[in-house]
Symmetry: C2
Subunit: 694 residues, 2 copies
């Protein structure tokens, strides 16, 4: 890689990005692009307000950057929930981290590299190496600069990671207090209800919970099977009921069997009016028989405390029976999956896990192939005439193709996953899978190393380490280009939304449909988080070895800060909120990056005959592991639990304020199949709605 | 390895073992060896009974094998607790498993191996190979026999493992019901009590639990620091109290601060008699000031259910504060460790973990060295004259030296560990560490392969696999010798207890001390379980490749069955009961062995150009992993939890029987530093005592 070529590529990319951003600031003002660029805003408005409100606000808005900058955390939270906020925290962490690293490495490490005389003959192929640690001579005292930078960066990383983990954990806990009346606080999801010929599932649930949670068991709601045939039957039945003049209302309401709340709007089987409700009960029973019950139910409790206790402990001697979990929010329930027997769930999870590994391997195949074909070095050797332009175009094309493929495949997996398992687990998987992809991106390059190393005769571990240490600094130019083409370009793409934009134009001007095209999308965390983490890994790996990569990264993160804030505020809606539960993945990725940085530094120090620093760098790896353990002990339990103190305080507060009965009566009608169905065609911004309610 | 040499070695070992066993049956009848061979029986007897009882029973007892055979599970349980029972189940599992494997492999696989013509020239060095799979030709149809055996053995293993896991889980659950009045059911151990300048730890505990567990919080007992200085101070204080005529009794009793049980023998701060006990309170307070409080306490509840709930949920927003665990049994408490702050515990655990790895590596060093020196092959080449006897002596010596070293080091680590962490965690570690050692034993041999492979030029993974597949069957004779020298010999050693025997003789006949020598030992699970598992691994790895190893293994397990039953019944006492919590380790080791067997089979099938079977064996690996996942889902939660149903039933039963107050009053005095102290010089068989009580 020649320096002028890199600079040309950088200049070209910057011009493209600035051009696209200017274009965006023009396009977003056009009223016919409203649906493309302001999906989130439109969703929050009442239908009537639309025209006035948006024209008033949009005419003078050239400075979208200023708006993105001025938005408070509260605004981000209102639009993107905790997830959006946590994602912005991740970007901020990277900016802070690499600002520190840039100051240290550009002003202390880079001069040392430049002044070293490790590379004698400067030929165009290795021209870039004078900026890397390879230019420092063996045993040089200049290596202390690298060592110093390594330690300061590591310590900064520890501090920043600790602060961010703490922040995210705090945000999660505050969520519980922020929405005290959420039905999920009072509700648990029971699976694996034991089958008996004598009683129905519903009776088994009632018996179990009224026996063991007598004082605080409120009611329960069974889950019914809803295949296509079931749906058809339900429709027919509905028609029949209409014809025989039975109230539809009774049908749409879920069948909730309880032991009585005074203000319960649809009492069924209350202990006080047992005889009176016998007819009702009978009716409900015959009704239940018609629909097929699943061995799953939502159980409602009087207090948040009992709901949490029930979900944390093992009920019976067989851990596969009476499995209790926190209930998801009503609008997060993916009903068809609730009927999957619990004993099959782990098989599905395992299959998805195996599938994700196979998928990653399969994804590795074409990219390695393309990389192998359009490898700059081999191309240059075959067609020397291409030398000039091949530098940027080839990498550009490859990376973009790879990037698109990656995005497309990612979406595929997520779609599949939504069919495979409950929605509540989706986030976890998406990120594991996507983080896996991030690794794949990285191993894409390592793959070519592997080939190279495979050809050599490996005689021991030490030689392998030396080989790795020699190869890594030389890869910096490739990754600089990668950051430009994959990182900067993706931000411009994200901002412009070219696909939706063009389809919208076709709808409006070719098909002459006034309403235009533009669906409400959710933020693609499963693509953006791994991308940010991948660049994080690149930054940590190369910051000491080849500091020239840092400006490229900082530019990416600064742009990302503005772009993603803008997108969260204006474009994407929040359909499902994980409450930032992907942070531990991000934290682990950062720890992994730190360990890679320290291991590579340790290897290179020992290659440069600087054993003290090598040993000290190795000790740093142990410290990093300990730090990680500490963070896991300190914060990770908060991601799977709620604190008893909070819940009991909230319960008491409700009791003093006399709001209990009101909350409980609302609770019973909250898990409604019709409302909660995820398969609806017009999802509404439920979080925003909920926020307004509060 | 030459066949006659192996047979000589086997005959020699059998003669030694049978001789030692006959000697044992004579020695055990001698009254002066009582303390050596009947420690467990002596501990269960009252001092007065001793002479009559034992002479009556001992004179005709030539058939100790019969007695060991006739003992019921109930007897084993009475002497060795659940741990002893589970260990016997492990041996039984191995016997069943390898009986099936022997029938299949000796009658189907071995003839195929013998009739194959894969090895043309039979030279003495590879004479044994005609019994292995190496003698089967490439593409031979005889390999279907191996394939069939592989599948049948795998399926048998699944069934047996499932049954045993279920049995052990059931036994653990039954323990809870069997000892309904155990104080640990009602008690939790609280650590990480937050520090405040305004109130003492004790007050903080009282405030927290009476606020959040109002209805069922009974009392609590602080833990006090007890260093050497503290002990001296306590002694002085005690003397002073005696001199000033204060009752010592008041001192020895722990200071229990509660909110009142009618029959509480030492009411302190009961809500009813608050004014009356003010003086008491003041006294207790000044007393507490003198001793230094630790941020740890035992908290007692009125119901088992609440105790379990409290120990399963997170109390506060900081998971490092108010950390609640199941309380250990009173006699299992290692008091000095309770004062270790919770925030340091994870560091200690990590250090122990790192230490165990380093220790294993360090242990690898001398054994590899000795093995390298006394390698049969190199010896034979250097001194051809030694050929005849080197076959068994060298391995004998090495293995015994290694074994003794292993035992000694194991003991060392355990001792250290008891000082490092709470006793309740000890078992987990001992087994991790010891299982690690088992692996080390195995890698001892792999280590020499590694050297051999290191010298070869490795060009790819495939060659490595081929190399491994070629080497493994050839190692069978070594491991046959290993089973004889390390396995059979260790059983004879275990039975004879030569060290204690000789010391006892010296005490009685040289030093003329009538009482003799002989301490009460606990069963060395940390040595015996990994040994059984190691042989299990050997059996699975070689059963299809070299079936001749199976008879040696079966002999070992049959002897082990009798010897260990005898030892559990007669020699060892139970000082600490893990309730079989080491079973998951054993299960994992068995799964690992299965996977090793299937991988090696898959490699060797593909080497023999039998691709169908190779693929099918690979599929079996996936099945094994899935089976393991299933077992973990199904049974593992029972090893860390108690079932709510059981606890609530027990609570209700007590309430109906009116035994609650009696149990609670006994509870408060149970966690007594004096009684519970583990450092006592004369440990009594507490389990046996408890058993009698029930």
């Amino acid at each position: 890689m020649i320096l002028p070529a890199l600079l040309t590529s950088a200049a070209f990319n910057i011009v493209i990005c600035v051009g696209l951003m200017s274009l965006y600031s023009i396009l977003r003002k056009q009223p016919y692009n409203l649906k493309v660029y302001f999906g989130q805003r439109l969703a929050q408005l009442q239908p009537g307000q639309k025209n006035h409100y948006f024209f008033d606000r949009m005419i003078p808005s050239a400075g979208w950057l200023v708006k993105a900058w001025e938005a408070t955390d509260e605004d981000i939270y209102a639009c993107g929930g905790v997830d959006g906020l946590v994602f912005i925290r991740l970007i901020v962490f990277c900016i802070r981290m690499f600002t520190v690293a840039s100051v240290l490495c550009l002003f202390i490490v880079l001069p040392v590299n430049l002044l070293g005389r490790g590379i004698e003959v400067i030929d165009p192929e290795t021209q870039m190496d004078i900026f890397t640690i390879r230019n420092v001579q063996e045993g040089s005292r200049g290596l202390w600069a690298h060592f110093f930078a390594l330690y300061v960066i590591s310590i900064c990383a520890y501090a920043l990671l600790y602060i961010e983990f703490k922040n995210v954990a705090r945000m999660r806990l505050e969520q519980v207090i922020r929405f005290p009346t959420k039905p999920s606080h009072f509700t648990v999801l029971v699976r694996g209800i034991p089958w008996s010929t004598e009683e129905s599932y519903s009776e088994a649930v009632r018996k179990h919970f009224s026996s063991y949670y007598d004082s605080s068991y409120l009611a329960h709601q069974m889950v019914y099977r809803s295949g296509t045939v079931q749906k058809l039957m339900m429709e027919t039945e509905k028609m029949y009921k209409v014809l025989t003049e039975t109230s539809i209302n009774q049908y749409v309401q879920p069948i909730t069997v309880g032991i009585g709340v005074p203000t319960n709007p649809f009492k069924m089987g209350t202990s006080e009016s047992e005889s009176a409700s016998k007819k009702d009960k009978h009716e409900a029973k015959s009704h239940k028989k018609e629909q097929e019950e699943c061995p799953a139910a939502f159980v409602f409790f009087r207090t948040r405390y009992t709901a949490m206790v029930a979900s944390r402990i093992i009920q019976s001697k067989d851990p596969m029976l009476w499995v209790i979990d926190f209930a998801p929010e009503p609008h997060d329930v993916y009903w068809p999956n609730l009927c999957v027997p619990y004993r099959l769930l782990w098989i599905r999870k395992t299959l998805v896990y195996i599938g994700s590994i196979l998928f990653s391997l399969w994804f590795l195949l074409p990219t390695t192939l393309v990389q192998g074909l359009i490898n700059i070095g081999s191309l240059e050797r075959t067609f020397p005439i291409l030398r000039g332009i091949s530098t940027w175009t080839s990498t550009h094309v490859t990376s973009d193709a790879g990037g698109s493929l990656e995005q497309w495949l990612n979406m595929e997996v997520c779609k599949h996953y939504f069919r495979l398992s409950t929605k509540s687990g989706a986030d976890v998987f998406c990120f594991t899978c996507a983080a896996c992809n991030a690794d794949v991106c990285y191993t894409r390059r390592i793959g070519t190393w592997w080939d190279r190393m495979g050809k050599l005769t490996v005689t021991g571990m030490k030689d392998m380490a030396t080989l790795l240490g020699n190869l890594i600094p030389g890869q910096a130019p490739f990754f600089m280009t990668y950051i430009m083409t994959s990182g900067w370009a993706s931000l411009a793409y994200e901002l412009m939304q070219p696909f939706v934009l063009i389809v919208n134009w076709i709808y409006q001007f070719v098909l002459m449909r006034k309403e235009g095209y533009g669906d409400l999308y959710t933020f693609p965390y499963h693509i953006e988080v791994p991308r940010a983490l991948l660049f994080n890994l690149l930054g940590f790996t190369f910051c000491i070895l080849a500091p020239l990569i840092l400006p490229f990264l900082l530019v990416y993160y600064f742009f990302a800060y503005f772009v993603y804030r803008n997108q969260i505020l204006n474009v994407y809606i929040t359909r499902y909120n994980t409450n930032g539960s992907y942070w531990p993945v991000a934290h682990n990725a950062a720890i992994f990056a730190l360990i890679v940085m320290q291991s590579v530094a340790s290897i290179i120090f020992s290659m440069k005959k600087f054993t003290t620093a090598s040993t000290m760098a190795f000790i740093l790896i142990i410290f990093t592991s300990l730090f990680n353990l500490y963070c896991r002990h300190k914060f990770l339990p908060l991601f799977t639990n709620k604190a008893v103190q909070d819940l009991i305080e909230m319960d008491r507060h409700d009791e003093h304020a006399g709001k209990v009965e009101e909350i409980l009566s609302r609770l019973l009608s909250s898990y409604n199949y019709k409302v909660g169905s995820y398969s609806g065609n017009h999802p509404t911004d439920l979080l925003a709605a909920e926020y307004k309610k509060v």
